[in-house]
Amino acid sequence: MFRNQYDTDVTTWSPAGRLFQVEYAMEAVKQGSAAIGLRSKTHVVLGCVNKANSELSSHQKKIFKVDDHIGVAIAGLTADGRVLSRYMRNECINYSFTYESPLPVGRLVVQLADKAQVCTQRSWKRPYGVGLLVAGLDESGAHLYYNCPSGNYFEYQAFAIGSRSQAAKTYLERRFENFMDSTRDDLVKDALMAIRETLQGETLKSSICTVAVIGVGEPFHILDHGTVQQMIDAFEIAGEQEGPAAEPDAAARQEAAAEQGGSTDEGVAPMDI
């Protein structure tokens, strides 16, 4: 995409019928670090790659619990994502308060999409620069949706967004037909494999990824680093290097243990306001 005279305002159409500002917002999603989601009949798994700015800083929070039955993973401008997840949390709480029952996921994504659309039709606003993978469970089963900055939303069996997501998508495309009947653990394993695809050769460790699960009888929760590392080791999907599997595993385990003792999500100052 190149600069042109129709891309200054979100309220300016191009002669070809495009809104360039909206398309630029979708570009912002592609710049963010990868997030993936996949679902079976009873479970949905979200995963994302956590890159910290430097070794000194904490990593960005990219997976948010919205309610016991809904969670969201974001890619793009994480500040926009934080604001939208606060909106989603409020909507869930208000719906619960009025109807004494959980907000159906399909309703929530429509509300989110409408909110995003408003920003594509006001000259004093800009589109949200974040893509959301909404994972939820309601009476009609397990669902995974993708919400665009454009205000569109789609339901998926499995999807990946963010940088190098094509690699993950290729992996998922090969395997998705089996997902519906997958067990929970297999689903998590597939999620970890998909995350590894986006790392392009880098070793998969629990310190650089986050995995969250929601399912029947299992409220939305983020798996702790110890569990994730165990799964990585159990499925032997750390990285390309085979051979002396004992050493990298032991080192990784030590790292995970230090991580747990030092700072877990609770130890780091909560950035959500």
């Binding site: 606060r86 949390r89 709480i93 208000n94 619960s96 999500d265 609770e266 909560p270 959500d272 306001i273």
Partner: protein
């Protein structure tokens, strides 16, 4: 001479205007205008009593399960106790519709807190929140008389007692509701700690063991049921300690 005390109109139209509500004239007997009183109240009292006792490492919260209106019983099996957080439980007597609305408000606020802070609200924090929520409706209050009980951050029992508009105090024990006038003096006799004005500050929590406190609660409600018509049917006891929360029931007089 025709000197009427009041100028009574002599024709129909004037009479209509004179005697109708449109008229602004004030005049004495035989017609007396008095201020219209409300014949509907937004409040009702569903009765019942609540008690809470704080111990060194536990807290007992109890309430009867009778819900009444006027001289009738609506149900014998209604819980006045609500778990607000992991270590925080509230018992409320008064107008149960307001109580239900208050419980829902607090539950929603607690969810928001958990999203923002990644942890459960402590009992003292919830106590302050309850006070603020009640005062928010200072000019159309929740008709709800509350006792909040739980464990504080150190695992020690704590009880907070409220009035309808949010004035609250941390105490070692308290009772609210229709039977409170019968219950409170007895608790004072059994549990009263030295005056808080004495220095050094003494602990308000009772040195009683958990089982003794539960026994005391049962005794207290059995007595209140004898004389308070709104208290009876069943007693629900909730005990919070380091192991978690557990519930017990005891039958009370059903008359």
């Amino acid at each position: 001479m025709k000197s009427d005390a009041i100028n009574v109109p002599q024709n129909e139209i004037a009479a209509f205007l004179y005697f109708s509500p449109l008229s602004t004239k004030c005049f004495s007997a035989p017609f007396t205008m008095t201020k219209q009183q409300a014949n509907w109240s937004p409040y009702d009292n569903n009765g019942g009593s609540c008690v809470a006792i704080a111990g060194a490492d536990y807290c007992v919260i109890a309430a009867d399960t009778r819900m009444s209106t006027g001289y009738n019983i609506l149900t014998r099996d209604y819980s006045k106790i609500c778990k607000l957080a992991d270590k925080c439980v509230m018992a409320s007597s008064g107008f149960q519709a307001d109580v239900k609305a208050l419980q829902k408000q607090l539950a929603a606020r607690h969810l928001i807190y958990q999203h923002q802070h990644n942890k459960q609200m402590s009992c003292p924090a919830m106590a302050q929140l309850l006070s603020n929520t009640l005062y928010y409706k200072r000019f159309f209050p929740y008709y709800s008389f509350n006792v909040l009980g739980g464990l504080d951050n150190e695992g020690k029992g704590c009880v907070f007692t409220y009035d309808a508009v949010g004035s609250y105090e941390k105490v070692g024990y308290s009772s609210q509701g229709s039977g409170s006038t019968l219950i409170m003096p007895f608790l004072d006799n059994q549990l009263k700690s030295p005056s808080p004005l004495l220095l050094p500050a003494q602990d308000a929590v009772t040195p009683l063991m958990e089982a003794e406190a539960i026994d005391l609660v049962k005794t207290v409600f059995a007595s209140a049921s004898e004389r308070d018509i709104y208290t009876g049917d069943k007693l629900e006891i909730v005990v919070i300690n380091a192991d978690g929360i557990r519930r017990e029931y005891m039958d009370l007089r059903k008359d």
